[in-house]
Amino acid sequence: MSSVWTGEGPRRRRSSDKFRVGVVIGALLLLEFYLRPSLIEGRGMPDFLMLALLLLAIRQRPGTAAVIGFAVGLMVDVLTPARFGAGILAHVLVGWGAAWGRSVFFADNLLVTAGVFFIGTWARNLLVLLFSGTSPGRLLTELLIWSPLQGLTTAAVGVVIVMLFRDWLAIRMDQ
């Protein structure tokens, strides 16, 4: 049976692994800050920062994932400061939840990983909206229409990235 390497266990992390993961995260940052805005714009577009957080979180221990979530949340809050701190809190919770859930519950399956991306994005949006104060009508629209759409697009891009960089990310899937 294959498994997902989460940073624990017998395998020693090599510097080349870190480099490869760094390359993938760098590519996601490039997608987020250059390719996406130069190609598409609109609601429901994939969130590459969220994807980077989830890809890192499922490889890390929950504590480390929470710290990564803090950094990503800070970045989001600085760029869209609707309510400073809301993004940080949401990303910390989602990062920690993804790492913890991955180490306890989730199977090593492409569909399940896609589900993690989808639920992670949706849950992050829910938490940000709740912490930043949103009217019930707007909350409903966001959670039923726009967040699922963004979750789907993010999950689709995430699956492509996992399939492309499976070895680099040390994610092994059941065939």
């Binding site: 250059y34 130069s38 714009e41 929470a66 989001v76 400061p81 940080i88 009217s135 009508g137 963004q150």
Partner: protein, 312 residues
């Protein structure tokens, strides 16, 4: 199920998690000026390459996709400017004759909204112009269609603007004929289909018809008078019955806007003329008709006073 490691590592995970949560809660409780200083500092240092890259990406996309539209707009404006030149000269001459000061110009900075895939993106817009370009706090942000918001904080090369969808956004508003004033804010309506504005503070004796355009009134010193906000689309009920509340469909939505203008005019000296209302237009046309009739009758009278052709 995976082995979660020893108790030591689990404890360190919990400590890290608790520390992150504590810091996040502290960030949430941070006073707004402090949070603003912190975000500005991070934006102009650590995140500056990201903001610059996104700004470049938006400019590239505009150059690639919006070129045809820009050409059309430029051609239309060229025609307009040609026609406007004569009117402007005439207006300047009339102002000089009446000893009026020159008409105030409205300096502005073109800017682009750097949209983020965040769920609160339309509440706060990140602009690619900043204090180094001449942007100041509370500068109004508009599109060609209407009001978008105002600048809340600036860093040297970027700024953050509150848009009208932000729960704390307010703007003093007036109707085209200047008779009804109120305060515009994002509607907390449970209508999930779209985000709209509401006009509050309208006296019970005043009523507005659906379709009435609403503009900024210039009160409060943030927005100059005359920026189009939207149209009255429905009448809402004030739960206390102290005022009239109207739903306003805005002309411009921040989530859809990419290119905006930041008005950098000193706000206390700007007064844009409101477009004439329908009734004013009617009165104007009536005056013109009456004037024409008077001219015709005068012409007839002078014709009748002229000496008849002499009989040879």
């Amino acid at each position: 199920m995976r082995d979660q490691g020893g108790g030591e590592t689990a404890r360190s995970d919990l400590v890290l998690f608790a520390a992150c949560i504590l810091l996040a809660l502290l960030a949430l409780a941070l006073p707004r000026p402090w949070a603003e200083s912190l975000t500005n500092a991070i934006r102009r240092t650590a995140l500056r390459p990201m903001v610059a890259a996104q700004s470049r990406a938006v400019a590239d996309r505009t150059a690639r996709e919006g070129l045809r539209a820009i050409e059309h707009t430029r051609d239309s404006l060229a025609l307009l400017v040609q026609a406007f030149g004569a009117t402007r000269r005439e207006n300047d001459n009339l102002r000089a004759l009446l000893d009026l000061r020159p008409r105030l110009t409205q300096p502005y900075l073109p800017a682009e909204i750097l949209h983020q895939p965040a769920v609160t993106d339309d509440r706060m817009a990140l602009l690619n112009v900043g204090a180094a370009d001449g942007v100041h706090q509370f500068d109004p942000v508009v599109t060609g269609a209407g009001l978008v918001g105002y600048v809340w904080s600036t860093s040297p090369h970027s700024s953050a603007a509150y848009t009208w969808t932000h729960p704390e956004f307010r703007a003093a508003a007036v109707t085209a004929n200047g008779s009804v004033t109120g305060l515009v804010s994002a509607s907390p309506s449970t209508d999930a289909s779209r985000t709209v504005l509401q006009l509050r503070g309208v006296a019970l004796r005043d009523s507005l018809a659906v379709g009435t355009p609403v503009f900024t009134s210039g009160l409060g010193g943030v927005f100059p008078r005359g920026i189009p906000i939207g149209r009255v689309s429905a009448i809402e009920r004030d739960q206390f019955g102290y005022e009239r509340v109207y739903r306003i469909t805005p002309y411009s939505h921040p989530a859809l806007a990419t290119h905006v203008l930041v008005l950098t005019t000193p706000r206390d000296s700007l007064f844009l003329p409101l477009p004439p209302s329908d009734s004013a237009r009617k009165a104007d046309s009536l005056r013109k008709v009456a004037g024409q009739r008077m001219l015709d009758s005068l012409r007839k009278a002078t014709d009748s006073l002229k000496p008849k052709d002499s009989i040879p």
